[in-house]
Symmetry: C2
Subunit: 225 residues, 2 copies
């Protein structure tokens, strides 16, 4: 488990939450790992209270399982959870990008254009590590343009189920294809072309195909069933 340093203005609870989410997503906390409130609070130099509050929040999203008086554990990969997260992301992304086609204005175009241009720049310079965060930001910005940013936030924790399995996949997506997708999405939004935008999202998400059998054969101990 990686210990990040606490931001000065960050509350203890938010700090504990951030550390846990990052570690679960990156699999530095492996599925099944025991998490002790006492141990973690010692590592983070906090008391049990904020650590416990963070753990409870992640348990609500099924990322941690709490067994009272026995212990808390990083949830094993549950194919049903992964499927529900994937399903939810797909239908929501599609509906939101269609809404963005209606709601887009000059400010929204500027927001998305700046992002995609940066992606294209970093891609041309081979700085592909920068693209990951811009990718996330681009998707979030579409929700912002569609005035559905609360939905993005509410879903974000749940999507960790999907994203940590993606992180286990060997087959990484080619960055240039992703950036190209984003450019096409932006153009479709600018043109108000809902159907094309929706198709692009569908194809885009299809790139993150996860080969469950392969991952499972490598790391069977990570899986619930």
């Amino acid at each position: 488990m990686k210990i990040y340093s606490k931001f000065s203005r960050e509350t203890a609870r938010d700090y504990a939450l951030r550390v846990l989410k990052e570690n679960i997503l990156s699999l530095d906390l492996k599925p099944g790992t025991a998490i002790s409130e006492n141990e973690l609070s010692a590592e983070l130099n906090l008391s049990r209270t904020p650590v416990r509050e963070a753990i409870i929040e992640l348990a609500k999203a099924y990322l941690i399982e709490i067994y009272p008086q026995r212990g808390s554990f990083v949830s094993l990969i549950d194919p049903k959870m992964v499927e529900e997260a994937r399903f939810l992301r797909k239908i929501t992304d599609i509906a939101v990008i269609k809404t963005a086609c209606d709601e887009i204005d000059e400010d929204g175009i500027a927001l998305l254009e700046d992002n995609v241009s940066l992606q294209e720049y970093y891609l041309s310079k081979g700085m592909t590590d920068k693209i990951f965060e811009l990718d996330n930001q681009f998707h979030k910005n579409i929700y912002v343009v569609a005035k559905k940013d609360i939905i993005y936030e509410i879903h974000s924790t749940l999507m960790i189920h999907f994203d940590r399995v993606r992180n286990l996949s060997v087959a990484t997506v080619k960055d240039f294809k992703v950036v190209g997708d984003h450019r096409k999405m932006l153009e479709a939004i600018k043109a108000g072309d809902k159907e094309t935008a929706a198709e692009l999202v569908d194809k885009h998400l299809g790139r993150y195909q996860i080969d469950e059998k392969e991952i499972r054969s490598k790391k069977p101990e990570y899986f619930k069933v």
Copy 2:
């Protein structure tokens, strides 16, 4: 605020959460009302800890706003939140009922059939107060049939934004229309007719039209903007 009694097996935190959610939904806790951790824990005969944990969870869903060192308050009705909840419910319900058309089996049919039959029975006897809970159960069961029950649960707290505004509407929906909708949905699912099922959901949700202006003119102090 109404104080319910605690179930014996219920944890203190779940109890506090249940009481708060019920009261916010029913508007027995009016938008804007101050909620003191100390006061509430005294009323519920609990310590601050479980009450605080419940408040934090509702704050995550924007149903309570916490201002550190100042106080916590039941969130005012925020039209943006209501719209996001309505939007999310619509797109999810539609996608899920389509999936239910594919996933339905004998057990699923029995589950839904029992529910709708009961609704029809209570309607014929004029016991319309029984229908409310069956209505909720019917929708949940569609998610269960489609194997998307986690999504239902994750969304349920957010839907309080939508539902408490519905509870403010004078224009109550005619029960028989709702029950009729459910019967038609069930038949569409049994027939595997996705498009009809989706249209029915759309029309069904359309019955819960909320006249924001009217509610706002009656209770302007409940609204954020």
